[in-house]
Symmetry: C2
Subunit: 143 residues, 2 copies
Amino acid sequence: MADITKQKIVEQLKEAGVSPSEQRIAVFSFLHHNHIHPTADTIYQSLSPDYPTLSKTTVYNTLKLFVAKRLIQVVAIEDGELRFDVNTDFHAHFKCRECLEVIDLFDIPEPQCPTETQLIAESTQLNFYGICDQCKGKLEEQS
Amino acid sequence: MADITKQKIVEQLKEAGVSPSEQRIAVFSFLHHNHIHPTADTIYQSLSPDYPTLSKTTVYNTLKLFVAKRLIQVVAIEDGELRFDVNTDFHAHFKCRECLEVIDLFDIPEPQCPTETQLIAESTQLNFYGICDQCKGKLEEQS
DNA sequence: ATGTTTATTGTAATGATAACAAATCTTTAA
DNA sequence: TTAAAGATTTGTTATCATTACAATAAACAT
């Protein structure tokens, strides 16, 4: 997971019916190599140096396409910033209110929508909000 | 819960250390009587006829204050629209992708953040996305 | 009453995303 | 090979929710 070849990236895109343009490869690669749940802007800022002609609109279009093709997942953990995750399997997230980082939590079972409700859940998001150990330490130091 | 007197509203505000102005009473009342997880705009639009001088900024300020005083809860279920809930106890939400309504699910236990992670969760949001029974029926009719 | 704090208001600024149309690249078929 | 058609990218502009800010108004305390 940590390292994935460009070949694999291209393969995955093709399998999903997405023609592998330079830009799309770049965005998908970035997501594969940086499991930081980046926003569209973070992706754009990070790729810009290597792809000077890249446009922000392309990043938005590409991410929307990837989501539609189920190549990636939206993480709606905070209003006003859509984040993206290459791991489309269910897992929970924790957002630290100090460092603002989003941490993966893989060991929590997926909660199920009660069947009596007649609601058909297609996806599930479980988000925790709080403070991480590091930041808690720093805050206690200060006071 | 369905019906709450103005007196109770005023009491609750005072208890939380919020001086009960007309506008604050109106917003808190609206939330108490309309468990629809409204956005700031919905609240503003709904109250405007009765409070013609009400400003949108006041609605935003008031909601922010209520959240800070833990009188209400933010429901971050979709990017670009903050929703608000007078029920501050944990419960899950279901958003239908057709009618866009947000439905409460009270019977799901609150998932716990594993203690090994050293993360201290202060709040938890569990959101399901899918289609409700009514909308599913309508869609099937059409095809 | 008068000065001080608090709340409300309207306008303007911000920032993320989407719409749109023009430009470029790719593919297809003659 | 080349020209048309289709897909992709780009830059600009528009939109929409939210916030910042400064001025007004109301409530409170001396």
